[in-house]
């Protein structure tokens, strides 16, 4: 691969060390010392709205939609209705093959009685096993709705955290045209920085990233402005992102 006797790694590191020491590099302009904790860039909206409402309105700012469910027990009903809104049944009287939706494992979504309620509407959750298997992949790619929970959400920007993991496929929030996310109000933080601080102080931040191969921050539907800066939605990821915020009665993790 390389003809040079010194491995690239050693040569690059040696070069850098040579250029950077003992004299530090001369920058044009002074820098302050590394901040102990970086500043909060995007603050939470002020006012006395609940974090759930703030999160929702920020999500709307970025072309997402939301609803707030006051009792966890009602969430399953809303999920079923939302899916039926997006995928109306083909025949009204005679239920045909069930409507499949790509989903996280029900435990990870965290809505009580979800599977039973969906079965009543002839909806079935498809929790993929191994998406590198052609058949599974083919099936998953054909579905138009994905359902996930979230690991955290933010009132400042309308963003959510989706960590990949067991029963938590990336595809459910990525492949279908519609993404339905269940957001427990207790997981909404005012800002990214609040969340980072909480995890850092609990000693969990590093592991959270390292143990979940991919941690994705998602803020509204997929968009592009490449064609004359015209906003278009659903370029690769979902075109429609809807959050069902469930007031689970617990104060936020912060």
């Amino acid at each position: 691969m390389t003809a040079s006797p010194v491995p690239a790694r050693d040569e690059i590191l040696a070069r850098l060390t040579g250029y950077l020491t003992p004299e530090p590099p001369r920058f044009r302009g002074e820098a302050e010392p590394l901040p102990t904790v970086p500043m909060t860039v995007t603050g939470a909206p002020s006012g006395d709205a609940t974090l759930a409402a703030m999160f929702g309105s920020r999500l709307e700012d970025v072309q997402g939609t939301y609803e707030i469910v006051d009792r966890p027990g009602d969430a399953a009903e809303q999920v079923a209705q939302r899916i039926r809104l997006w995928c109306p049944p083909l025949f009204d009287d005679q239920p045909g093959a069930p409507t499949q939706v790509l989903a996280w494992a029900p435990d990870e979504i965290g809505v009580p009685n979800l599977e039973n309620r969906l079965r009543e509407s002839n909806i079935e959750l498809l929790v993929p096993g191994d998406l590198h298997e052609a058949q599974v992949r083919h099936k998953a790619a054909g579905l138009s709705v994905g359902i996930t929970g979230v690991d955290a959400a933010f009132a400042s920007t309308g963003s959510v955290v989706l960590a990949s993991g067991k029963g938590k496929s990336r595809s459910a929030s990525l492949l279908p045209l519609h993404h339905l996310m269940i957001v427990p109000a207790s997981r909404i933080y005012p800002t990214f920085e609040d969340w980072l601080r909480t995890l850092r102080q609990a000693g969990e931040l590093e592991n959270f990233l390292r143990h979940n191969a991919q941690v994705a921050f998602v803020t509204g539907p997929s968009k592009s402005a490449d064609i004359e800066l015209n906003l278009t939605l659903g370029v690769h990821g979902p075109k429609v992102v809807h959050a069902i915020v469930v007031d689970d009665g617990t104060p936020t993790g912060s």
Partner: protein, 478 residues
């Protein structure tokens, strides 16, 4: 599109003659700059700039430590780490990975670095199909053009141009509706994603403490490329490393606010290794190529500042020169605008091979004012100009002109004599109706082709001053 391999003069002339191009550039850069202004006005931008600077400067100052820490943690996360001195080594590494996996199709998310090293071409020589999946990059790939902006690669194209291209290449029915064009691309690219054997991405930041590669996208192709294929290769410049998780979040928000005016991008994918055995999706192998390609040499050349860049493109959008000529006039390079004018020569083996770039600026300072990393771009342009002059790139005419200038200006009598000569010389030159000159001697004749030049005053200020003072009975001071 203009010929990016033509000489600089000719590229500029072609660009200036292209009215469509300049309309497109004007619209796009103005809107981007306006959005950016609003987005940074909504936060404590001076403080944000200080912190971006502090984080980036810390990382660059401690690069060897940072990189080793990054490497250790990437490996601990199950990544395979490769180091490459230059473009050829990096391309060979990626080709080698592809060969070992029998890769036939590659999907890529946007990466200026792979543009810089010509990775696509290298893979194509092995018969591998490489598909750019960022909508903009996809469009220019179909059109066989290089990107003309570090962020908005098709900023130079109108909707009509893109529609023609899609009709020709993808059989799309005639329409200029961006929604339809976008849906056409989605369909086409979705097939590619599902079939791809390997995904290649860049990396906006590499977090040393956790071994995490962060990728910013709005379309979601970054997540697709890092999730769907069995193999993910991230090609990352060695300067991209940051110490802590929190730093990446600050830089992410600084980037998006300055790039597109968004508080955050739609997607921010933080990748720390291949999927775990019980995960449904994600790559089975993740490779990280840490590439130097002239970056360390930039420190040695005395310009560590440019390594602080987070590629937000803000300097490009406010640049009045870029607005007139667009990215292709900067040549066959991945980087244009002010950052391109400094980065392209500094990355080159021989900076004088692109000596014209640092001079193509009016030094208006707009770039330095917006840069979130507080890079003093005008100062760097000036320093590069001085380097170019010292390397002997200037014309004989320029050298003579400035030598005589310096000689003349060091003694007031010589200076006065020069002015007298200039005044008499210009008296002989043709004039227009209102007395302005219409011809000058070289190198000033370039002025006259498009502009009027004033005549020298009949009486210089110092003569008027003497008269004024003597009229009042005051002695001229020494």
């Amino acid at each position: 599109m203009l010929d990016v391999h033509a000489p600089f003069e000719s590229r500029v002339t072609q660009a200036l003659a292209d009215d469509h191009l300049r309309t497109a550039l004007d619209r796009a850069t103005t809107r981007l700059a306006e959005r950016r202004d609003l987005a940074v006005a909504a936060v404590d931008n001076p403080a944000l700039r200080h912190e971006v600077r502090a984080i980036r400067q810390f990382a660059i100052t401690h690069l060897p430590d940072m990189l080793q820490q990054l490497e250790t943690n990437l490996i601990a996360n199950g990544c395979q780490v490769h180091w490459a001195r230059n473009a050829a080594e990096a391309n060979d590494i990626v080709r080698d990975i592809a060969r070992r996996h029998g890769v036939r199709r590659v999907v890529k998310s946007k990466s200026m670095l792979t543009e810089e090293i010509g990775l696509n071409e290298a893979l194509e020589t092995d018969g591998i199909e490489v598909v750019e999946t960022d909508l903009g990059e996809y469009i220019i790939q179909l059109a066989h053009e290089p990107p003309s902006h570090i962020l908005a690669p098709v900023i130079h194209k109108r909707a009509e141009d893109i529609s023609d291209l899609f009709q020709r290449e993808l059989g799309m029915p005639p329409t200029t509706d961006p929604g339809v064009m976008c849906a056409t691309a989605r369909q086409e690219l979705r097939r590619k994603f599902l079939q791809a054997d390997m995904g290649i991405s860049g990396g906006n930041f590499a977090i040393a403490e956790t071994g995490t590669i962060c990728i910013i996208t709005n379309e979601g192709n970054g997540r697709m490329v890092t999730s769907m294929p069995r193999v993910h290769v991230a090609v990352v410049g060695i300067e991209k490393v940051v110490p802590r998780v929190e730093d990446a979040f600050l830089l992410w928000q600084a980037t998006t606010r300055n790039a597109t005016g968004q508080a955050v991008s739609v997607y921010f994918a933080m990748c720390s290794g291949p999927r775990r055995p019980d995960h449904a999706d994600g790559p089975q192998e993740m490779h990280v190529v840490l590439l130097d390609n002239g970056r360390s040499r930039i420190i040695d050349r005395g310009y560590p500042d440019v390594l602080l860049c987070i590629r937000c493109g803000a300097c490009v959008d406010v640049c009045p020169v870029y607005r007139e000529i667009g990215g292709h006039a900067y040549g066959a390079t991945a980087y244009s605008g002010p950052i391109g004018a400094v980065l392209t020569p500094l990355l080159a083996d021989d900076p004088t091979s692109v000596c014209e770039l640092p001079f193509a600026s009016s030094l208006c300072g707009a770039c330095g004012e917006v840069c979130p990393a507080e890079i003093d771009l005008p100062r760097i342009l000036l320093d590069l100009r001085s380097d170019m002059v010292n390397a002997g790139t200037s014309s004989v005419l320029e050298r003579v002109a400035f030598t005589s200038y310096a000689t003349g200006m060091q003694k007031p009598w010589r200076y006065r004599a020069l002015v007298v000569v200039a005044r008499w010389a210009t008296k002989l030159l043709p004039r227009n109706g209102s007395g302005g000159l219409t011809k000058l001697l070289p190198p000033l004749n370039a002025w006259m082709r498009t502009r009027v030049f004033p005549r020298f005053a009949r009486r210089s200020f110092r003569r008027l001053w003497r008269k004024r003072s003597s009229g009042r009975g005051i002695e001229p001071s020494r």
